[in-house]
Subunit: 231 residues, 2 copies
DNA sequence: AATGGCATACTAGTATGCAAGTTGCCGCGA
DNA sequence: TCGCGGCAACTTGCATACTAGTATGCCATT
């Protein structure tokens, strides 16, 4: 279920307990297993996972930094509501950075890069059934990451993974409609085509269209689940 | 000395000890008081500041996440070297986002916004002497933050504050040359002029020119202080 | 003298106990 | 029945003790 980016920076390689608790909680919040506003306590989580409060505390801190939790001293820790402003900012930042990187990718792509993108697209087509949602999601991410790599800016995608967090919370609220997967893959195909054609303008436009599709879905979800949100 | 951005998000209100240690260490690393490669230990820092290891640990973790420290389990914690690739990525991200926001600012600026920018410029001119470097730096930041606010994307600047961190470490290595302050203010004036004229293209170009100036200085410093860097 | 192994002195990771503060319930009084 | 006051149970923040792993330097052995 939780094949979300591990998001452990290479600068700190910590013990397994912290990672276990962190990953589990992150997945639980992201998937909506524990919903916005709900309170969780260090003690209870520690007991549940069979560890002490210390690693739980660090996991809480990290998740609070990422905007998933809200820690109120002497009161409690709560799953943060999804802030519409944060979602909007994520959209803005993502569009700005990805349109620029895909343009670079189109300028710099070599044959091997196009081949790599094509391989990803092929894989993507094999996991379009609704029951393979997590695999589909992972390949979606991998495609965008690959574009950043080709552009010579892999770190930009690393940043976007963090920035996208609030956006992904929204995405998890939805059971995507029937033609959704096909539409995404089709748009990816358009982007890859323009990159393969070394057409920066076309690539940027294709990426913009793609992100607008994603964002429109997010807005739709936000409207129909307004109780989870905060203005 | 340390009027650097506090960078504590409003979602977490932590104890005063954590903030004290965090701010002090961040300033020490940023200013070069403790230089890249140097090792620091939780125990020693805790003793020095008269607190226990717990808040020090949290400060360490946060600083590691920001790329200032490198924690090696069971071995030690060290001031991270300045990675040239990280500096380059910071430049790329900053240019991409700021050029877009200043364009928006030029489209949306109202009279009050232009007045606010002009006020900042006036203040900036009053602190151009070398001995008021920290005030100059703060007003520089404030100007960019104001542009993001006018663009309707204040959160973008919040992100850039974090992204710029590695870049600021480089800036701190330099004693700026004589005409530096005047050049910066002059470029800010150009940007504000184009924003006031509601000229998005001009504003973007002025911003790009400004950032190229800053980046050129960074590259220069990186070359002359290569012992602090890591490829 | 060179080298291999071991003891020691560090390190961060974890567990737990105590302190300070807030919330909310529960009982008492009007 | 309604309102108020106080207490109890909860929370996180901080301090401290303990665990386990690593580097280093010394000493014995070759």
């Amino acid at each position: 279920m939780t094949d979300s980016p591990t998001s452990s920076s290479p600068t700190d390689i910590r013990g397994p307990r912290l990672h276990g608790v962190y990953d589990a909680l992150r997945a639980a919040v992201l998937s909506g297993e524990i919903h916005p506003g709900e309170g969780i306590s260090e003690t209870r989580v520690a007991a549940r996972y069979g560890v002490s409060r210390t690693p739980v505390r660090e996991a809480f801190r990290r998740l609070a930094d990422e905007g998933f939790l809200r820690i109120v001293p002497q009161v409690g820790t709560f799953v943060a509501p999804i802030q519409l402003s944060a979602v909007s900012d994520s959209q803005f930042i993502r569009e700005t950075l990805e349109c620029r990187t895909v343009r670079l990718a189109a300028e710099r792509a070599e044959a091997a890069d196009v081949a790599s993108l094509t391989r990803l697209l092929d894989s993507h087509r094999t996991v379009m059934s609704p029951d393979r949602h997590s695999e589909f999601f992972a390949l979606d991410e991998a495609t965008h990451a690959e574009l950043a790599r080709i552009a010579g800016r892999p770190a930009v995608w690393d940043l976007l993974v963090a920035v996208k967090a609030q956006l992904d919370r929204v995405r998890f609220l939805s059971l995507h409609s029937e033609g959704w997967a096909a539409k995404i893959v089709g748009e990816h195909q358009c982007i890859v085509d323009r990159v393969a054609a070394r057409d920066p303008d076309g690539a940027e436009e294709a990426m913009r269209a793609h992100l607008r599709t994603v964002f429109a879905a997010v807005d739709e979800i936000a409207r129909t689940n307004s109780h989870f949100f905060e203005t």
